[in-house]
Every structure is written in structure tokens, then in C-alpha cells.
């Protein structure tokens, strides 16, 4: 099976449990199991190629410019881990089917489990380190979901958060490390990185890369001082603990250390960091495990300890150490997953996993007892079980490892760890299963159904088979070891066997087992001593740390982001100015390459008007109506300026936008106070003035520098000018750019415009349905109302003008492709024509005569524009490619029909709809404040008391 399918299968399969959930628990679990088994079969189908010494690869270039490609490869190491992930995964699914109660959502659980499985398979098969990082983060996320699966338990939520924080931080460090590694080698492909041992180890970046990558590995694999999250993750359902937190996810860090072993190991930095961390973790975890009363906590610390052991073995940097590590990964996965499942069974049946409330279960649960006994003795390192063989090899390796001087230090610590390991294994068995049967169990324990004990029994069988006949797995272990070593060192010529003769490891082992038995006998007193010894607790320290960081962040945000908008605006302006000044002061600017053009008198007059209007605006801005008039002057000059500088389309757009903006702001001012009070003191005004002048000088200077220099590169406009007529079918290049060359931009822009109008409509609706409505109704107008609400002159004028303006609009629209005009401008003009009717005769009168809702017009516009674009697909072109032809109908002149015109029609409709919807919303706000809606087109305000019926205009 292709590696792509192998990685994708669990992700795609993750959709199944959710669908199958309603079909019953059996179907749901069956579907999940089928996915995993299919992947497992697919994995095994690659075995012949691997046996022949090949490396199976698959590659898709995804973002080659970033070096991010989907490249997968399968070598013995990847195969080994993938089969652990999928094999144990299948057992866990069977076990989980029976473990979960009827109240638990099985679909959700198996969805998360398959997501996790896919992410893990992705890690071990990735050939690209960036891809690996993506999968790495995915395992953290899916592990978060799984630990917090029982959302109602606070321990579950806290444990999930802690695991995510610790492994997530490690993941961040790892990203940095991997990027450094890729930078050293110049490639992000693992296969390339693995071939450059010298280049990496000689690089000055080796040490930072090593530290960052190890941070990622140590957090993931719970190495001291990051070991504390793993026991808290035990709040997860037991299948999760057995799967993620003993057999697979916590081994991801170890996998990566093994994967990078050929290029990272063998240096002093590697040796001292990894070996020390492993050794400390091994001893610490073993000691704590002995004194835990919760079965799962005991197993969790035991897992921490064994992960430390494997880490230490990888740290020694010898081929034999690597081989032992590989073998122990296999052994640990078998016996620890079986132990977790047994603990889960005990918890499931006896309703407690507190070892103090248990004991004497061997007669009540004989099957479970047998499984736990086999797995537990293997963990203790008793001969004839697989744990014994790898422990012997570990002790052998420890004998040859010298750390910090004294030769006996590592062997002594290794024996110490093995001793406690034996002790807590014995305690696990003895205190749970031996002793007298009690009558105060929370629930009467008995063996579970076959489905629940079969998976751990299978693993226990493996424990015995490997323990009795280790030569069966020797080819596997040696093959994987070869992949770990990567050709740096030869695979050691060592045979996995139960008996190696009377040698030091055997004596150390004997000491450990004897000491373990002694510890078990003395446990009651040791426990008392342990309980009175003060120890630092990881959880409060961690939470205190998180709380401190959060408080710091809150304080910083509160100080910087205190709700004062003007402060942000000032900070923003000054920052931009400072950045611009820095660029100006440090950069180089060439001399002027263009001559200044002479200014005609009319231009100087226009300039003077603009400057004067802006100046008055600043000084008189408190009078809001005056400010509006002055703004109108500025806008008019700007549009005249556009016309003057060869931009007729811009001029027309600007002047029509001026009109609708003025109407809009007038409507707003109808409701807002008409004057701004003087609030800021002289100092503040001076400060703002200085910032403003500096900004103005900066912007002006930038424009000046720009205009006095030629284009740095030939503008792409040359292309537009050349192809506008022959390619786009129009002579107005600006319009052709809008509807053709950059039609996609325009399409996006009209959508934004439509959304803005809908937002305005929605906000108005929200305002009118809230308490504001009453306020508006009771409003006292700012100024005395005019006597005639709908003046006769204005009504007549707008009625007469309407058809004329509409005709102008149509004309502007039709000629837009070849002469100044087009959909935007025509839309604005038509909107002005309609809005004039609202102004003249009031909202109620006008909206009664308006038949199409403006939302619909916006929607139709976007739809027409979109469909025009899609139409190009049918002629085999890209989205929005326009086509045109010339048609000659006898009575009329020859004219052009272009698909761009349909697109422009969409633009036109959207603009009309958006402008009208916004203005209509505003006028609805204003309308509420009036006493009675007008019934007639022209009328006189009756409240003025003139009451002359003759002046009332007939409708």
C-alpha cells in the first residue's frame, strides 16, 4: 500500500466513528477497528521490500519554495514504530469498546483516537522535518482532546491543559531546532540530514539545535524536569493511558532521538545531557512510583522511569546502547500496555484503583491476575520474561558507561533504578491481588467479558514468547538497530538470549530483585517515612507559574490597551513616523530624475482652495455642519484634480461618492450633536498638532520624492495599454483593468461593499429593536424644524430630474468600456437619483414605491458578476476571462457585445444596492424621530399650525 494512503487512512477513517455512532457501539468500534487493521495490513504489505533492504518512499512537492514537501519514507525504524502504533491501536480499540460505558460518546472517542493514530503514523513515516513537526503538533492536540475526554472531570481538563502546555512549549522549541538543523544542512529532508553527520556536528549551530530538539523530545517523552505532566494525564480514560501514555505518544520523543541518533549523538553535549536526564528520570520515577496508591499513578511514574531508561541508553552513544534501547521499547510497549489495561479492568470491575482499598483479587479475578502477574514480573525483570533480557542488557551497558568521573556511578544508579522498579512491580501485584479477599470493595469484582481481557492477554503472551525465545525477534531488533545506527557504527554482534553466564549484570540483577523483595516487606514503614518527608509538588508549582505568566500578560495588556482610542492612534502615528524616519535616515535616495512641471494658474487656485478649506476644517471642526461643507470643498477639489491629471474615471467616481457621503453624514448629524465641545487643553492640542504636522510633512515629502523620480522598473501598465483593445475589447483602459485584467480584485471588492452594506443594515436593525428605539422616538430635534417637511420645489425638481439622471446613468454605464464611465460610476449616479426621492418626499413615501429589496439587488449583482466569471469555464478559459464580439443590426450602428459588460452590470447592481441599503438604513433611524410619517409626496408640517389644506400637495 502506498505510504500516502497509509498516513491518510486513519485521518479519513476518523470520519467514520462519528457517522457510525448512531448505528450502535458494536458497529462503531467495528468500523474503527477495520480502519486500523486495513492500515496495519497495508503496512505489512511493505515488509518484503524492507526485508530486501530497500527504503520505501513516496513524494509530492507541496511548497517546494519553502522546502516543505510531503515526502514519506519507510525504513525498519519507521516500520517498527508504525506497527507498534497500529498493532497496539487495534488492541486498544477492542478494549475501549468494552471499557467505555453507555454514557460515553463512543463516536467522539474513536474519532480522536484515529486522529491521534494518523498523526503518530505521520511522525514515524515523515521524511521531511517540517512535515514531521506538523504531525508532532497534531499528536499534542489529539492527546489534549483525549486526556480531556471526560469533560465533566476537573482533573481531566487540568491534566489536558498541562499536557498541552508542556508538550506544546516543547513543540515550539523543536520547531526552532528543526529549522536550525535544516539551515545547517540546506535541506529539510530527513534522508539528506541523516547523511551529513560531520557537517552538523562541526556547525556552530549544532549546540542550539541540539538543545532545542532535546527540549521537544524531553517534554514529549516526560523526561526530568518535564516529567510531571504524564501522571496528571492519567485522568484520561484507561485505553488512552495505555495507548498514548505508555506505548506510543510518549515514545515519540524517543523515536526522534533514535531517528536523529546518527547525526546528533556521539558528542559530549549529547552524552552528558541525554544520559544524565535519562538516569535522573529513571531513578526519580522509580522511587515515586513505589509510593503511589493510585494504580494508574504508579504505572505512570513507572512509565516515566522506563522512558528514562531508554533515553539513557540512547544517550550513551554506543551501538549496543541503541540496540538495547530498541529492544526495551518493544518490551516496554508489550508489558506496560498490558499492565495499564489490567489496571483499567480492576478499576472497571471494583470501581476503585486505590491500592489501599484493593487486595486479594487473585481468586476473584483469576484471568486478570494471570495477565497482571506475567506483565508485572516482566516489568520487575524476572527471568523468563522479556523485561529481564533487556534489563540485563541495560545493566551491561551501564557497566561500560562512565559519567562525571567515578566508574561505579552509572552502574550503581542503574541497579538502584532496577531495584525500585522491581519493588513497585511487586507492590502492584502483591497489594492488588494477594492477601485476603476483602468484603468492602466499592463493587463486587469479577473477571470482565472476553473482549476486555483478550487484548492484554495477547500482549502477555508476547511477553512470555519473547522472554522464552528472544531469538524470534532478533532479526527485527537488529534490523531496527541498523536503521537507528544509520551506518555510523556496525550492528553489534550480540545474540539475544536468556542466559549469558555468571557475569556482573546477573549479580546486579540479583541484587535488584532481592532488594525489591526487601522493599516490599518494609513497605509500610517506608511509606510512613515518605509521607512525612516534605517534597515539592509539581502541580501547584506549574499552576503558580502559569498564573504568574497570565497575570503579567494581563498587566501588560491592561497598560498598553486601556481603551483610549486616541492613545492608540497617537502611538500608531508616532510609530509609523519613527519607522519612516529610520528608513529615511539609514537608506539612500538617488537624485531627482524628473523635471518639475510648471503649474498653471488654475492649479495654484485649486491648491489654495484645498489648503484653505483644510485649514478652516481643522480650526472650525467643532461646528459640525461647517466641517461637512469644508470637507465637501476638499472632495470637490480632489475630483477636479483627478480630472486635471488625466483621470476622468476617478473624477467622476470621486464626485459621485462625495454626494452620497454628504447625504450619509447629514443623516448622521441629524441624530448626533451638532457641535463638538472643546475638551482638550492647549498642551494636548499642541502635542496633537505637532504629531499631525510631522505626519503631514512626512507624507508630503514621501509623495514629493516619489513624483520626482522615474519608475524603478517598467510598469506593468504597458501590458495593459497594449492588450486593452485587442485582448479586452475596450479602449478605456481603466475600465478594462477593472472588469478584465484585475476582474478578480473587483469581484472581491464588490463583495466587500455588499457585506459592508449588510453590516450597516444589521446594526440598524439591532439598534431599532433595542432600547434605542424609544429614545429615538422621544428625541427633541437639535434645531427648529423647517415648516415644510417636503418642500414643493425640491419634490418637483427631483421628479423631473430622475428620468434624466437615470438616462445619464445608463449612458455612463454603456459607454464605460470605451469611454470614461462604467459600473461603479453608473451605480453611484443611479443611487443619487433614487436617494433624492427619499430626501424630497421622505422615507415612507419613497420606500412604498420601491419594489425590489436592496439586499436582493446586492445579491443579484454579486451573482451576475460571479456567473459571468464562471461562464468563461464553458469556453475553456480561466475564471473571469472576458470575450467579446461585434454585432451589426441594420437600423443601429455596429456595436460591441462583451461578457465584460455583464460583469460590469453585476458591479453596477451591487453598488446601487449597497449605497441604497446603507442610506436607507440611516434614514430609517432618522424617521423614527418624526411624529407622523408623511402620506403625501408634498406636505406641510401640521404641527406648525398653519393648517392650510390648499397647500397640501395631491399625490
Amino acid at each position: 500500500m502506498s505510504l500516502f494512503i497509509l498516513v491518510l487512512l486513519p485521518f479519513l477513517g476518523a470520519l467514520l466513528p462519528g457517522i457510525l455512532d448512531s448505528a450502535g457501539r458494536r458497529v462503531c468500534a467495528g468500523g474503527t477497528l477495520a480502519v486500523t487493521l486495513t492500515a496495519l495490513v497495508g503496512l505489512v504489505s511493505n515488509l518484503p521490500a524492507l526485508m530486501a533492504g530497500e527504503v520505501v518512499t513516496a513524494r509530492i512537492d507541496w511548497l517546494p519554495a519553502l522546502g516543505l514537501n510531503v515526502t514519506l519514507f519507510l525504513d525498519p525504524l519507521g516500520f517498527f514504530f508504525a506497527s507498534l502504533i497500529l498493532g497496539i491501536g487495534a488492541l486498544i480499540i477492542v478494549y475501549g469498546r468494552y471499557y467505555l460505558s453507555r454514557d460515553d460518546s463512543m463516536g467522539e472517542f474513536f474519532t480522536y483516537l484515529l486522529l491521534f493514530q494518523g498523526a503518530m503514523v505521520g511522525i514515524v513515516l515523515s521524511d521531511n522535518v517540517l512535515l514531521l513537526l506538523v504531525f508532532w503538533e497534531l499528536t499534542s492536540l489529539s492527546s489534549f482532546l483525549l486526556i480531556g475526554y471526560w469533560k465533566h472531570l476537573p482533573e481531566g481538563r487540568q491534566g489536558a491543559r498541562m499536557a498541552l502546555t508542556v508538550t506544546g512549549m516543547g513543540g515550539l522549541a523543536m520547531i526552532g531546532g528543526m529549522l536550525l538543523l535544516g539551515r545547517i544542512v540546506g535541506s529539510y529532508d530527513l534522508t539528506v540530514i541523516l547523511e551529513n553527520r560531520e557537517m552538523i556536528q562541526d556547525s556552530p549551530l549544532y549546540l542550539p539545535a541540539l538543545v532545542l530538539i532535546l527540549l521537544g523530545c524531553f517534554t514529549k517523552s516526560a523526561q526530568f524536569p518535564f516529567h510531571f505532566w504524564l501522571p496528571h494525564a492519567m485522568a484520561a480514560p484507561t485505553p488512552v493511558s495505555a495507548y498514548l501514555h505508555s506505548a506510543t505518544m510518549v515514545k515519540a520523543g524517543i523515536f526522534l532521538m533514535a531517528r536523529l541518533w546518527p547525526v546528533m549523538s556521539g558528542t559530549e553535549a549529547w552524552f552528558y545531557t541525554v544520559t544524565t536526564a535519562g538516569l535522573v528520570t529513571m531513578c526519580l520515577g522509580a522511587v515515586i512510583a513505589l509510593f503511589k496508591h493510585d494504580l494508574k499513578a504508579l504505572l505512570a511514574f513507572s512509565t516515566v522511569s522506563h522512558l528514562g531508561l531508554i533515553t539513557m541508553l540512547l544517550g550513551t552513544g554506543t551501538a549496543f546502547g541503541a540496540m538495547t534501547a530498541v529492544f526495551h521499547i518493544l518490551n516496554h510497549a508489550t508489558f506496560k500496555a498490558a499492565l495499564f489495561m489490567s489496571a483499567g479492568i480492576v478499576d472497571h470491575e471494583a470501581h476503585t484503583r486505590d491500592i489501599r482499598k484493593l487486595g486479594g483479587l487473585r481468586h476473584l479475578m483469576p484471568v486478570t491476575f494471570a495477565i497482571a502477574l506475567v506483565a508485572g514480573l516482566s516489568m520487575a525483570g524476572i527471568p523468563l520474561f522479556n523485561g529481564f533480557i533487556s534489563k540485563e542488557m541495560m545493566l551491561e551497558e551501564a557497566l561500560h558507561t562512565e559519567l562525571f568521573g567515578p566508574w561505579w556511578l552509572v552502574p550503581a544508579l542503574a541497579t538502584f533504578g532496577a531495584l525500585f522498579s522491581a519493588a513497585y512491580s511487586f507492590r502492584f501485584i502483591a497489594h492488588t491481588f494477594f492477601g485476603k479477599a476483602r468484603d468492602d470493595y466499592p463493587s463486587k469484582p469479577h473477571d470482565p467479558g472476553t473482549g476486555m481481557w483478550l487484548p492484554p492477554a495477547f500482549l502477555a503472551t508476547l511477553v512470555i514468547v519473547i522472554g522464552l525465545a528472544p531469538f524470534l525477534v532478533e532479526p527485527l531488533v537488529k534490523g531496527v538497530t541498523g536503521a537507528v545506527l544509520g551506518g555510523v557504527a556496525p550492528v553489534p554482534d550480540y545474540h539475544l538470549a536468556i542466559w549469558h553466564g555468571f557475569k556482573p549484570p546477573l549479580y546486579m540483577s540479583a541484587v535488584a530483585v532481592a532488594g525489591g523483595i526487601l522493599m516490599l516487606l518494609l513497605h509500610r514503614w517506608l511509606q510512613k517515612a515518605w509521607d512525612v518527608t516534605p517534597r515539592p509538588e509539581a502541580k501547584p508549582i506549574f499552576e503558580g507559574l502559569v498564573e504568574a505568566v497570565a497575570a503579567f500578560a494581563r498587566g501588560l495588556t491592561g497598560r498598553l490597551h486601556d481603551g483610549a482610542f486616541t492613545r492608540y492612534a497617537a502611538i500608531l502615528s508616532v510609530t509609523i513616523l519613527a519607522g519612516a524616519w529610520h528608513a529615511y535616515a539609514t537608506g539612500t535616495v538617488g537624485g531627482a530624475t524628473r523635471a518639475m512641471q510648471p503649474a498653471p494658474v488654475v492649479a495654484i487656485i485649486g491648491w489654495a482652495m484645498l489648503v484653505a478649506a483644510s485649514g478652516f476644517l481643522v480650526f472650525a471642526h467643532r461646528k459640525r455642519f461647517a466641517a461637512l461643507v469644508l470637507m465637501g470643498i476638499v472632495g470637490t477639489i480632489v475630483s477636479v484634480g483627478f480630472a486635471f491629471f488625466s483621470a476622468p474615471d476617478l473624477a467622476m467616481t470621486q464626485i459621485s461618492v462625495e454626494v452620497v457621503t454628504a447625504v450619509l453624514l447629514l443623516l448622521a448629524l441629524n441624530l448626533l450633536p451638532s457641535e463638538t465641545p472643546r475638551e482638550s487643553g492647549a498642551g494636548r492640542r499642541l502635542r496633537d498638532g505637532l504629531v499631525a504636522v510631522a505626519g503631514g510633512v512626512g507624507a508630503g515629502a514621501l509623495a514629493w520624492f516619489l513624483m520626482m523620480r522615474d519608475f524603478v522598473a517598467a510598469p506593468i501598465s504597458e501590458y495593459h495599454l497594449e492588450n486593452s483593445y485587442y485582448g479586452g475589447g475596450g479602449t478605456n483602459v481603466v475600465n478594462v483593468i477593472l472588469v478584465d485584467f484585475r476582474g478578480f480584485d473587483t469581484f472581491g471588492e464588490i463583495i466587500v461593499l455588499g457585506i459592508a452594506a449588510l453590516v450597516i443594515y444589521a446594526l440598524t436593525e439591532a439598534l431599532l429593536s433595542g432600547p434605542v428605539r424609544a429614545r429615538l422616538l422621544d428625541r427633541v430635534p437639535n434645531a427648529p424644524l423647517a415648516g415644510d417637511r417636503h418642500p414643493l420645489m425640491m419634490v418637483v425638481l427631483t421628479r423631473v430630474a430622475m428620468p434624466l439622471i437615470l438616462m445619464v446613468g445608463v449612458f455612463i454605464f454603456l459607454r464605460g468600456h470605451n469611454m470614461p464611465g462604467g459600473g461603479f460610476i453608473a451605480g453611484l449616479i443611479v443611487a443619487v437619483a433614487v436617494v433624492m426621492q427619499y430626501m424630497a418626499s421622505g422615507y415612507a413615501w419613497a420606500s412604498e414605491r420601491q419594489r425590489f429589496p436592496y439586499h436582493g439587488i446586492i445579491g443579484a449583482g454579486v451573482l451576475i458578476a460571479g456567473l459571468t466569471g464562471i461562464g468563461a469555464w464553458f469556453t475553456g478559459h480561466e475564471f473571469l476571462t472576458s470575450s467579446f464580439t461585434y454585432i451589426h443590426l441594420p437600423p443601429i450602428e455596429e456595436f460591441e457585445v462583451a461578457s465584460a459588460a455583464a460583469f460590469d452590470l453585476g458591479v453596477f447592481l451591487t453598488v446601487v444596492g449597497a449605497v441604497m441599503l446603507s442610506l436607507e438604513s440611516f434614514s430609517r433611524l432618522a424617521r423614527r424621530s418624526q411624529s407622523t410619517p408623511a402620506e403625501h409626496a408634498m406636505d406641510i408640517d401640521p404641527s406648525r399650525g398653519r393648517g392650510d389644506a390648499g397647500l397640501k400637495g395631491g399625490a
Binding site: R554, D562, G563, A564, F565, T566, A569, A570, S573, R594, Q597, A599, A603, I604, W607, L610, S614, L617, V618, H621, M631, G641, F645, S646, A647, L650, T661, L665, A668, D688, A692, G695, G696, G698, A699, W704, M707, M708, P715, H720, T731, N732, V733, L738, R742, D745, E749, V752, L753, A756, V759, I760, L763, T764, L767, V772, F824, S921, F922, L925
Partner: protein
């Protein structure tokens, strides 16, 4: 002529920044409108100033101004109208809801709200 346009951009920007730094919503809206003029004219000038050569293809024209900045500014003008309208309706809503058109949130009130959140 370049000097006139550049100084006009400067004046528009200065007026815009000054008004944006005021304390009430209406001057801030007018200020952003002024900044919009400044930015649009600035973008337009990136095509350089050309008199009497509109980008309308004719047989007897010898030169054309750069059409691309014009196309970009045209849509910018229309979009800025939409954005102004949104800001105005937000300002109106704030004023009508609280009888207050200040743009600055009072710092004390905000801190109290934050502390309330923190306790939950």
C-alpha cells in the same frame, strides 16, 4: 506642479491626523475621510503626474498616463465610502445607546470589567 500636489497631500494628512486624535466620534470620522483623500491621491501619484493624456485609447494619442493606479484608486474610493458608512453607523449606535460620543473608553471602567472576568 509636483510640489503643489505633494504639499496638498501633506496638508490633507496633517488635517486628517489632527482630527483623528480628537475625542469625539464625528471629528474622528471626518479625520479618516481626510486621510482617505490623502492616501488615494498619494496612490494616484505613484503613476506620476501627467496632464492631458487620459488612458483612453485613440488613434491620434501619442502617450497615455499609467492606468493601473487609477483602477486601484477607483475601487478604493468606493470601498472607503462603504467603510465610512459602517463607522458612522457604529458611532451612531454608540451615541444613541449611551448618550455619549466619546471615542475613549474610560480606563477605570475597563479595568473593573477585566477584574470581573479574571475572578470567574
Amino acid at each position: 506642479m509636483e510640489l503643489l500636489v505633494a504639499s496638498a497631500i501633506g496638508v490633507l494628512t496633517a488635517a486628517g491626523i489632527y482630527l483623528v486624535l480628537r475625542l469625539r466620534t464625528f471629528p474622528v470620522i471626518v479625520g479618516t475621510a481626510m486621510l482617505t483623500y490623502a492616501v488615494n491621491v498619494f496612490l494616484f501619484t505613484s503613476g506620476r503626474l501627467v496632464v492631458g493624456a487620459p488612458p483612453i485609447l485613440t488613434d491620434d494619442a501619442t502617450r497615455y498616463t499609467d492606468p493601473l493606479p487609477q483602477a486601484l484608486v477607483l475601487t478604493a474610493i468606493v470601498i472607503s465610502f462603504g467603510m465610512t458608512a459602517v463607522v458612522v453607523v457604529i458611532a451612531l449606535g454608540a451615541y444613541l445607546g449611551n448618550d455619549d460620543d466619546r471615542v475613549d473608553d474610560s480606563a477605570g471602567r475597563l479595568d473593573a470589567a477585566r477584574k470581573g472576568e479574571g475572578r470567574q
